[in-house]
Amino acid sequence: MNWITNFVRPKVNALFARRDTPENLWTKCPECGTMLFHRELTKALMVCTNCDHHMAISPRDRAASLFDGGTYVEVPVPAPIEDPLRFRDQKPYPARLKEARRATGQHEAMLVAEGEIGRTPIVAAIQDFSFMAGSMGMYVGNAIVAAAERAVERKAPLVLFSAAGGARMQEGILSLMQMPRTTVAVQMLKEAGLPYVVVLTHPTTGGVTASYAMLGDVQIAEPNALICFAGPRVIEQTIREKLPEGFQRAEYLLDHGMLDRVTHRKDLREELIVITRMLTGQPPAIMAELPPPAEPAPLVETPAGGEGAEPAPGPDEDGTPPAKAAE
């Protein structure tokens, strides 16, 4: 058997090597192995078009797909003391931060943005797993406090997308103190009577799950997201037994009563619009592409017309499906 592997394998390898494509054009789905063209994948919000596997989406792409017309304004986050403990493992912490900044092009692990979804003003905080595993340190804490303060100021709901390996060990006890800190931020929203919706994305673990990510008024998760306090490996080592299939995945948590919903990424925007509008006492949003300002809107009777006008009641109020009217 050996002679044949020796003989065949180099040729097979060479064949594949020659077909190697630039990394940025094609992405292989880690779940089903389908090769996905980058444009198609971006259009599908980084969800595999073959098996619906949800890959990581950058906070900026997430914000662009969430807000109306992809338009949002970044909310400034106060800069914390960098490297408060002068932490050093195999590398000094500032070197790790620098490396993460270079690799991701982002300043830190959370983006705070404000804008409108379905003409509903909201504040969104989006955690970035690609930045040091999205870990929660002083910056992420500051970001959540800033997001809550802005939401209170604007009387707008806060939608938070979580993704983190947990606390940022390099900030030691101060990363742990983000648990109470972010909890205070959540309390600000609750006391101001504003909805706080959490969207748990893959993966959300540790101190992040055990604080702001589990305190939402509505808890939504993306399909198959790992959501836990202790990771599966730690548990297997502790109890010395194999864990059941799908353990700590979004659907499993839904089954165990820990979530309200598991929602496909393509449906998230609409769902968030519906939920936030209902919780803030607003009429239903117009669930279609808003008509471009130049064209006359055939069905929606807008008294003043134009861009800045308030959205009129939903198109299907009179029972006519909007698609028909557009023909």
Binding site: Q90, V145, M177, V184, V186, A210, M214, T238, E241, F247
Partner: protein, 320 residues
């Protein structure tokens, strides 16, 4: 039989020899042997002073986990009267890793909540080594709310390696239970005094330690992750726990400098386990003083100040 930690080995030899000599003296009544034993004892005491004067963070972690260190039940027995344990989360079970109940501290009614590790094999298993499950946190939430409604101050005693990483604990919402417990700490309008008497292990500790005043025994530790856990993740080698303990700044002194804790309670020479009664007394006095200082404050003001305290935390780094 005294339990010696690895760095106490020279001490174990000295004290062992002294004990042997004394045993010999008891049989033969030789005076110079007694004198020699006394000299050894003095030497042992010097050694003890020398060792404990400059404990490394890793050594402190070992002292904090010493099996003979006073545990929550010891504090409850010695410090409080009319101890009335209250059990259960009203949903699933009673978690024996968390004890809670009403008691009086120098006449004042308080709600006591704490982690209990157990002191021998049987009790350790019963207490799950002080690692709470969601039921434990939900019991604590229930008791804190009860205390809040009736204006009873809350005293928490923190001593846990961390929340239990088990299958059932995850299924029943370990993270949600911890998050709600922390949230309850930040909501109730009665004073909360937290004392970290052993290990303050990560989220499992924060869930009860989010108080108005946070006390810490001199050789206790409070950290986001255990030194071993940190070493295995950042150094990819669990044996690097000494370096990790150093880097994490988990000692009372560092935490006080960072403004995370408010007060350090000194331990007797050689650690809490060498004079349990004195340690318990010192912790009790400190708690009483802090409770007195919080007396007469209105609920709203207390909650606002507590939230401010945690919002401001970390805005100053380690003093140079």
């Amino acid at each position: 039989m005294t339990h010696y930690l690895d760095f106490e080995k020279p001490l174990a030899e000295l004290e062992g020899k002294a004990a042997e000599l004394r045993a010999l003296a008891a049989q033969e009544e030789t005076k110079d042997v007694v004198g020699e034993a006394d000299a050894l004892d003095r030497k042992a005491k010097d050694k003890l002073r020398e060792l404990y004067a400059k404990l490394t963070p890793w050594q402190k972690a070992q002292v904090a986990r010493h099996p003979e260190r006073p545990h929550c039940v010891d504090y409850v027995r010695e410090l409080f009267t009319e101890w009335t344990p209250l059990a259960g989360d009203r949903n699933f079970a009673d978690d024996h890793a968390v004890i809670g109940g009403l008691a009086r501290l120098d006449g004042r009614a308080v709600m006591v909540i704490g982690h209990e590790k157990g002191h021998d094999t049987r009790t350790r298993i019963e207490r799950n080594f002080g690692m709470a499950r969601p039921e434990g946190y939900r019991k604590a939430i229930r008791l804190m709310e009860l205390a809040g409604r009736f204006g009873v101050p809350v005293v928490t005693l923190i001593d846990t390696p961390g929340a239990y990483p088990g299958k059932g604990a995850e299924e029943r919402g370990q993270s949600e239970a911890i998050a709600r417990s922390t949230e309850t700490c930040l909501r109730i309008g009665v004073p909360i005094v937290a004392a970290i008497v052993g290990e303050g292990g990560s989220g499992g500790a924060v869930a009860f330690a989010t108080g108005d005043r946070i006390l810490m025994l001199e050789h206790s530790i409070y950290s986001v992750i255990s030194p071993e856990g940190c070493a295995s993740i950042l150094w990819k080698d669990a044996e690097k726990m000494r370096e990790a303990a150093e880097a994490l700044r988990l000692t009372a002194k560092d935490l006080s400098q960072l403004g995370v804790i408010d007060r350090i309670v000194e331990e007797p020479l050689g650690g809490a386990h060498r004079d349990r009664a004195a340690t318990i007394r010192a912790v009790g006095e400190a708690i009483e003083e802090e409770l007195k200082a919080l007396d007469g404050q209105k609920g709203d003001a207390l909650v606002a100040a507590r939230r401010r305290k945690f919002l401001d935390m970390g805005t100053k780094g380690l003093a140079a």
